[in-house]
Structure formats: C-alpha cells, structure tokens
C-alpha cells in the first residue's frame, strides 16, 4: 500500500443563502494514496466540484467549512494563506472545468505556462518558455514551438484541454485534481484526453471529478459516487462499477444508453432542504420505512467497498 497523500476527515462545506444554508458537502471522509486515481462520480449539483475547490481552498470567503483536509501531514484548512499559495500549483494542481474560459485570452499559451513555472521554480523567462514548449510537447500538442506563441482562441476545445493539463503539470505536482476534463469533447478527442491521463496518473495521485461513468472506468483505481453532498458508495473501481451496491449507483448505470437507458424516477433533492432519513429514499425502488426515518452511514459491503444504504445494515 502506498502512503496516504490526502486525508479528508468530516469535511462539511456550506454556502449561506437567503433561503438557508446550501449543504454542498456533508461529512465527507476521503483518503487518497500517492499514485492512486480516485474518480469522483456525481451529477450536476451533487457537490463534487465544491470538494475539489475546498481542497485547494479556492471557495469564497463566506463559505462555512468544517473538518480537516490533511495533505502530507499539514491541515490545509489552517495553514497561512502564504503557505497555501506555495502549495497550489506546486504540490496540488487543478485542471479547471471549461477550457474556454480558464485561460487568459490576452496572453499567449506559452507565456501563461511560463508564468506558473517562473513563479514556483524561479526560472528566468527564456528558460521557463522553453520548459513550456517541452510541456506542450508532452501533452501531444503538434508543433509546440509555434503553438506556444498562439493565443487560446486559436486552439480547438480538445487542444485547449491539453493546454490546461500542461499548465497543471508545469510544476510536476504530486497531486492533480481534474474537474470534468472530458466534458463537451467528442468521442475521438475524449479518448485522446483519457489516454493522456493514463500516462499522467502513473506517477502522481489524481482526483478525477467527472459525470462520465465510462471515463471513470478507464482511469480510476477507486470510485466514489456522490449524491446530494455525501458519498453514496466508495470502493475499488471494478467493484463499484461492476457490482454496484447502492441503488443510486445501480440506477446511474442502468440509465446509460448502452445499458438499457432506464431512467431513475424523480430528480435530485435541493441541497437546502434535504429529505429526512436517506437522501436517495424518495427516488429509491428498494425503499423501506426505516429509510425515511434514519440517515444511513457507510456500511462495508466488500473489501474496501462501502455503501450508504440500509439494505446492508
């Protein structure tokens, strides 16, 4: 077993709004070992992006955060901002969602990558630029010398995604968070990005945030399924996706077009007024009376495999 790199304990993230607190993440426990790829699978509004942003401490100042996020024995929630800034990009990097708006339109791609390198590694500009070209080459951008001098709008969606990946890898971080890197890409481009991640995750830990179940199957050693701000199920990828225990995970798999496209009835609850008991109970086909009264904890259903469901309790 590799050593634990990231250790999240009892993480609660809430956003105060006029209508009440949005509980985006509710008592999340998560451990990621070095060189492990954990896919965080969830639908829009389940709280998966918030978890990634909380780890990097990039949430807005009025956010209510409780719990611990330990990275290499330091609690990221309590270290001074100066230290956190050194951590971002260098130790923990993120590939942000939406490649179209994550790059600065008025600087060349090379300059943007070089900026990160000179900030963290103190390289002079020409050296940083040539390192940027190497990185573009590493993420398979054709003619990297020329492309480094181009602006983001001159790149296609797939190419911009590669630039974001190169940017995240600039300081060779030991932990990479990727937020929906395959979103909006067509099948051929998506496969190329997945292939790239298969190389990247060889020598670092990756938190792969996605709603693309097939991408999770392609990359992950472990999968966590998020529903309404908490983990519904977590375990080895083959177990969670091959023998799903939680009715939500089963429903998600059954709604894939290649698996019969049977939809889960109803819709996800509001994170302000969560249902009593199990949060999935209003949509669950195996619901019993107990499910509507008690909030289930994670129950062990196999080696390293846990599900938040009364069926196993």
């Amino acid at each position: 077993m590799e050593k634990v790199l990231l250790d999240v304990r009892g993480l609660k993230v809430g956003f105060p709004t006029m209508d009440g607190q949005v509980k985006a993440s509710d008592t999340v426990d998560l451990r990621i070992a070095s060189r492990e790829t954990l896919a965080l699978l969830g639908e829009t509004g389940s709280g998966k992006t918030v978890l990634g942003m909380a780890i990097l401490r990039l949430l807005q100042p009025n956010t209510i955060i409780e719990g611990e996020i330990r990275f290499l024995d330091r609690d990221l929630l309590t270290i001074p901002e100066k230290d956190m800034r050194k951590m971002r990009g260098k130790e923990i990097a993120i590939v942000l969602q939406n490649s179209g708006t994550s790059l600065n339109p008025v600087y060349t791609v090379g300059t943007q990558i070089a900026e990160a390198i000179s900030l963290h590694q103190g390289l002079k500009k020409p050296a940083a630029l040539s390192r940027a070209v190497e990185l573009l080459d590493a993420v398979r951008i054709p003619d990297p010398d020329r492309m480094a001098r181009e602006y983001p709008h001159q790149f296609s969606g797939g190419m911009r995604e590669r630039v974001l990946i190169a940017l995240a890898l600039a300081c060779n971080p030991s932990f990479l968070i990727a937020d929906e890197p395959t979103k909006g890409l067509d099948s051929v481009t998506r496969q190329q990005i997945l292939d790239l991640f298969r190389e990247i995750n060889q020598d670092r830990a990756v938190l792969f945030i996605t709603h693309d179940i097939d991408a999770a199957a392609a990359l992950a050693t472990r999968v966590a399924v998020m529903y309404a701000g908490e983990f519904a199920e977590i375990g080895p990828a083959a177990a969670v996706l091959g023998h799903p225990a939680h009715p939500y995970t089963r429903g998600l798999l059954a709604s894939l077009p290649e698996r019969g496209m049977r939809a889960i009835p109803g819709s996800a609850p509001s994170l302000i007024t969560l249902p009593e008991g199990c949060r999935f109970s209003p949509r669950c086909t195996s619901v019993s009376e107990r499910c509507t009264l008690e909030h289930p904890g994670l129950v062990r259903v196999g080696p390293g495999h846990y599900a938040r469901c009364m069926l196993y309790d």
């Binding site: 969606g157 709603h211 097939d214 083959a238 077009p257 290649e258 496209m261």
Partner: protein, 264 residues
Amino acid sequence: MIEVSDLRTSYSTGFLHRTEIRAVDGVSFEINSGETLGLVGESGCGKTTLGCSILRLVEPTSGQVVVNGTDITALSGRALRQFRSHMQMIFQDSYASLNPRFRIRESIAEPMKIHHMGDQSTIDRRVRELIEEVGLNEEHLNRRPYELSGGQNQRVVLARVLAIRPEFIVADEPTSALDVSVQAQILNLIRDLGQDYHMTCLYISHDLEVVRAMSDRVAVMLKGQIVEIGKTTEIFDHPSHPYTRMLVSASGHHMDEMAAESMR
C-alpha cells in the same frame, strides 16, 4: 418522406483573404416517414449546419430538400412560413432556446399563436395537456426558465415543439448538456412522444451510444460529407468505412474492458 440531394452549404470567412468553408459538401440521403436517422461525427464536421440547412435556418448554397413531394429550397415568403409549421428543431442549450422573460405557459403557447391554431381557450387547454405529456405539471407553467433545471427546460422545449404537431424534427444534441440519469429521462420521452406523434426525426449527436439507442438508421459525417449510412445494427456491428471503425472503437467501451479484466 424527406429526400436530400446533393446539398451544399458554404460559409466564407476572412477579411483580406476570403476563404470558403464547405461545411456541407454534397450530401444526399433519405429519411422515411416515422423513421429516426442518427447523424454522427466529430465537432466541426458539419452536422449542425446540415440540420439547419434542411430546415432552411441556414440557406443552402445548392442542392434540394424535398419534403413530401415539395422542394423546400424553392419556397419563399408565406409558403415557406406555412411549411415551417410542419418542422421543428430542438437545440442543445434548452435555456438559450427559451425566452427568459416569458413564463413557461407563454413559451409553449407562442408557436400555436404564430400558426393560428385555435382561440385562447383551445390553446390554454392544449398547453395544460402538453405540460403533463412532457412529465411536468401545471405548477411549472407560471415559472420562468431560470427557475427550472436544464432537464426541466428541455422538457419545456419539447412541449413547445410538440405544440404544433410537427411531422419532422431535427434534434441537435438535445441531451449533451445533461447528466446521464436526466439524459435517460429526456431520451425516453423523445422516443415515446416521437412514436405517439408519428414523427420523423433527424437525431444529431457525437455520442455514439445515444445515437445507437435512438436511431433506426445512422449516417456518419466527416468533413462535410456522409461517408457511411445504413441500419444502426449494421453500422455498429460491421462498420465498413475506416472512419466509422475509428469512431466505433473510440466510443465508451471501458466499462466492458474493466469487466473483462476483473473476470481474469
């Protein structure tokens, strides 16, 4: 029912050096009545331009589109407007497809008013019918698009499309912005309502699994041209064009691979 022959649509770009981009470059195919033809291809291959050209939302440069014996590329003015009541398009972004200032009730009623489909009370009754048909309820009629989720807005778009009982619809990536569980709900709805209303459909998507689930036949597009067309099972089980083979092999198969690996 629909015969497209040698359809071409080009755009010209550039200020000093004008260049012509042939987005649709000599496309011919037919869609039978009640049939769903899937159209696949990667971003930028001309799928959307083809869909828009067929409905004349984009003017084709040359070629013909014959619908039920009428060449619609020759129509203009009133005749074209009248013809449009038989055809509708569903776009990817449901939120952008709806007027943000209209209540859902007004959005669904609008096409019926444009095409003079009865008095206020008939239209009101039909709006209430439609909202139930797409799986929402009357309470949603007084809301506005920003108060609904992406899936709910796409249901509203569907109600609006069905309002004028079109014979032919072009659906351009209607679920690519939705989550899988919501996607399944919307796709099932499109499929069921398509049958109820006996609609002929051109279903555009880059997601091969979705196209496989939705279509009777599939056309594969590459750089403005159709490189292969045939029955859905044929295309997926025995793709003949190298490009189709590549697309099929790049489509989501990691779940199966993983299952095979865990068996070993």
